[in-house]
């Protein structure tokens, strides 16, 4: 999450994928039964109002930024709607990465070696994870981590990958805070507004949460989405205006 997102000055384009239809096709093609069931649970269609969409705020802690070289060490899933984040149904898993665990990532995430040594492989948490996110649209802050890492992990373990739509709160932040940067700002070297999670939250009067705990980051990201919709959209806004194209 340390580098900035793709060119945010591109105008937002509507998603062309018909996700419910896509899920039906994927369900047919899927070989692993829990994955089949995941797709069969369906997903909101593009016109659904955001207030009616069941969602999950998700955060992965990983050993690095590159899904080809690094692994997942913890996963937090927080179910929510636009109006309420339900922590009583939140879940978290620590998993043992197949790739090298660096000293640095251990200290950052506050998870000890022994915890990770005793943790199961991602393969063992795929079923409950799929169950927890079934029928729900993902919310992440920066789309370069969770989906690619999960797709890589699935590929490696099941020989088939996973596809789903997601909402990226960092991309939303970029839409509203990066487009306004004028040529003058650039010429005068005025720094762009930070759209990192903590800085973004501050703009909406959300409290400071200590970073790098998967559960806290997922909650932080879910709250940020509620705030963004309250300020920039309406409860009736179609999900297609909000999720990634």
């Amino acid at each position: 999450m340390l580098y900035l997102p793709p060119d945010a000055e591109n105008k937002q384009q509507k998603s062309t994928i018909d996700w419910p239809k896509r899920f039906q096709e994927l369900a047919k093609a899927a070989k692993y039964p829990p994955l089949k069931r995941y797709y069969e649970a369906g997903i909101a269609n593009a016109e659904t109002a955001i207030e009616e969409v069941p969602m999950v705020a998700v955060d992965f802690e990983t050993t690095g930024m590159n899904p080809d070289k690094h692994g997942i060490i913890s996963i937090a899933v927080v179910p929510m709607t636009l109006s309420r984040i339900d922590m009583s149904k939140a879940q978290q898993w620590v998993v043992k990465p197949r790739r090298l665990l660096t000293e640095e990532s251990v200290t950052i995430h506050g998870i000890t070696h022994s915890e990770i040594e005793q943790a199961p492989d991602l393969a063992d948490v795929i079923d409950p994870l799929l169950e927890a996110v079934a029928g729900k649209v993902w919310i992440v802050h920066y789309n370069g981590i969770e989906r690619p890492f999960l797709q890589g992990g699935f590929e490696e373990r099941l020989n088939e990958t996973i596809h789903f739509p997601l909402i990226d709160t960092m991309e939303i932040e970029a839409r509203f805070h990066r487009q306004k940067r004028s040529l003058w700002d650039k010429l005068t070297g005025k720094k762009p507004v930070s759209i990192r999670l903590a800085d973004s939250r501050e703009r909406y009067n959300l409290p400071f949460y200590a970073p790098h705990d998967a559960m806290t980051d997922a909650l932080a990201c879910g709250e940020l989405l509620q705030a963004q919709v309250a300020h920039h959209f309406a409860a009736e806004t179609a999900i297609s205006d909000i999720w990634l194209p």
């Binding site: 109006s83 309420r84 922590m87 939140a90 909650l219 709250e223 300020h231």
Partner: protein, 618 residues
């Protein structure tokens, strides 16, 4: 593994009442929290909405309101709300709105209730916070009443808009539209200081459009003359009463005989319970006693609503007296329609609680008539008896029962010319005895309701001039004021009525508000006080410095407390569909009310002792 919600846990741990919980319960609370974000200015809870969680402010701030929209409290990070609803009926008592962007944590209601039951320290902490808020609310409440007692000039936001008498109606309407005002003052070229008249939106409707009047006619044709003014230093509250009494919705404000602005009903009504207003206006629309009597349930509703809106006894008493006065005025209009215009001028008087602006819903009619000295009984008395009878019967039909002491204008003694009334008062004051004055104290609270108001004024002037000089009169009045004592026994316990259908209750009027009003009246007469309302008299008494230090404010608070116990008791009876009365059973009171009621009676008792001492020389 069981997920820890670190941030939520660390947050709850910091704040009361959660910091009273053991660690494992805190973890349970954190794990079961849910979260929501609200933009500034969002209504979070509506009154009476179902509530199933304790709301905790994680960041931002919120305001809670009374039902009538007045501010109750402000909370920020760590503050919680909704506990009152959870502990009682699961319904929101105070609506809540965000004043900043706010993040809320919700602790499930069943969990909160369990903590409350199982952990005394937790329950205590919740209650401490509630009490802190109530005391805060009382302060807010006081400041709200101060806005009502604010001066009229504080409502003026702009210079008055005016036009010349010779301008056309169209020009006047255009000016009102351009200036966005609902009234316009009309000036005469010759007299520049005081406006000749006023027009309002309503006049344009009723006197122009509805009757097809030519808009190029002079505006003077449609203006109202004989303006009613308020003084710049009148209270907002008095202006409101003037509007109710005169049925005028725009009043020019005078400062040193210049108009500095116009206040509209809408300016004032924001400070005031509106329901009493609708009643007064509908009273003047009814065309028979029967129609008037059908307004009684509305009167009761308005009374209950004022109680619910936390109005104080002075406001409620005034509003109810204004309603009573309006009934009288309308009945007099109807009587004059029936029996023709009066053969000689007369003034219809209100006596007692109505004159003092201290009415509730349980009240009888005390009234009298002052006739012009040209009154000839043989020629005119039948007419005035008819009028008095009509009004008295009408009042009885509208819930103001006949006076058991026969102090009504139907009694020939109390339907007399002004000179005779002056003799009455002179005799009472100059040749007093307690026996003679026993039933006449009520006449010392008098106010004109309709007709020749100067008659009432002259009588009040006579009383103010003579009373302070006659020690024996004051002594006799003081003696009578001690006849009714507060219901406290030797051991400072309540003494209840021993027999009759009100056994084991306290008559809050006979034993409370009545004796307080009596003793305030004696002091007021002694200093020649201008005003009639007990609270207003007390202000003058305090200014005159005739009471020991601190006793005046004590007495004021005691009167307010007893009055409100009585008023709330009546409101509860009305809501339950019972007949309201003055008899309060101590067992129906909260501990808090009981304790304070005892204190209030003790203050009354001490005030009576002082009264006896001060005026015993007579």
């Amino acid at each position: 593994m069981e997920a820890e919600h670190v941030e939520i846990l660390n947050f709850l741990r910091k704040y009361s009442p959660f910091n009273e919980l053991p660690e494992e319960e805190l973890q349970i609370a954190a794990r079961n929290t849910s979260v929501a974000y609200f933009k500034a200015g969002t209504q979070i809870l509506e009154f009476n909405q179902h509530i199933d969680a304790l709301h905790v402010v994680r960041s931002g701030s919120i305001e809670t309101y009374h039902k009538d929209g007045s501010l109750f409290n402000r909370l920020d990070e760590g503050g919680f709300f909704g506990e009152a609803g959870l502990l009682r009926k699961g319904r929101v008592r105070f609506p809540v709105k965000t004043i900043e962007d706010t993040l809320l944590y919700y602790i499930p209601g069943d969990l909160f209730n369990r903590f409350y039951d199982e952990y005394d320290a937790f329950a205590d902490a919740v209650e401490v916070e509630e009490q802190r808020r109530v005391s805060h609310a009382v302060k807010e409440h006081e400041s709200r009443n101060r806005t009502l007692s604010a001066r009229v000039e504080t409502l003026i936001t702009r210079e008055p808009i005016a036009i010349n008498k010779s301008a056309s109606i169209r020009e006047a309407a255009c000016l009102m539209t351009d200036e966005k005002v609902s009234s316009l003052l009309i000036y005469d070229d010759e007299k520049r200081d005081i406006p000749a008249g006023i027009i309002t939106d309503k006049d344009l409707r009723k006197r122009v459009l509805a009757v097809d009047k030519d808009a190029s006619d002079p505006v003077a044709d449609i203006m109202s003359e004989n303006l009613v003014f308020v003084q710049h230093n009148n209270r907002v509250f008095e202006a409101f009463l003037t509007m109710l009494r005169t049925n005028l919705h725009h009043l020019p404000v005078l400062r040193q005989s210049k108009v500095t602005g116009v206040i509209a009903l809408s300016d004032v009504a924001r400070h005031e319970s509106q329901s009493s207003l609708y009643i007064v206006s509908s009273i003047f629309k009814q065309t028979s006693i029967e129609e008037l009597s059908q307004l009684v349930p509305d009167v009761h509703k308005s009374f209950v609503r004022m109680v619910e809106e936390d109005a104080n006894s002075r406001i409620i008493g005034s509003a109810m007296a204004t309603i009573g006065r309006s009934f009288k005025q309308r009945l007099l209009e109807l009587a004059e329609e029936k029996y023709g215009p009066p053969p000689v001028p007369y003034c219809f008087l209100a006596l007692g609680s109505m004159a003092r602006d201290e009415q509730t819903v349980v009240t009888d009619q005390d009234n009298a008539m002052v006739l012009d000295d040209s009154f000839d009984p043989k020629l005119h008395d039948e007419y005035f008896l008819n009028i008095a009878q009509f009004v008295s019967d009408g009042l009885n039909a509208c819930g103001y029962t006949y006076c058991t002491g026969d102090i009504m204008a139907t009694n020939p003694n109390w339907r007399q010319p002004l000179s005779k009334w002056k003799k009455y008062f002179t005799d009472w004051i100059e040749n007093p005895s307690p026996e003679k004055l026993l039933h006449s104290s009520i006449f010392f609270d008098l106010d004109g309701v309709s007709g020749e108001m100067r008659f009432a004024k002259e009588l009040n002037q006579l009383i103010r001039k003579k009373a302070p000089k006659h020690k024996r009169f004051l002594g006799s009045m003081a003696r009578n004021a001690l006849n009714r004592t507060p219901p406290l026994g030797f051991f400072k316990d309540f003494v209840m009525e021993k027999d009759g259908k009100h056994r084991d209750s306290i008559n809050t009027k006979r034993r409370g508000t009545g004796p307080v009003a009596d003793l305030i009246r004696v002091h007021a007469l002694a200093i020649g006080a201008q005003r009639q309302n007990s609270f207003a008299r007390l202000e003058e008494i305090i200014d005159a410095n005739i009471l020991p230090k601190g006793r005046g404010p004590d007495l004021r608070d005691a009167l307010e407390l007893i009055s409100m116990v009585r008023i709330r008791h009546q409101a509860l009876a009305l809501e339950a569909g019972d007949t309201p009365d003055n008899n309060v059973a101590p067992e129906d009171l909260s501990d808090f009310e009981r304790k304070h009621l005892k204190d209030a009676f003790q203050i009354l008792s001490n005030a009576q002792k002082y009264l006896r001492y001060k005026y015993s020389g007579g």
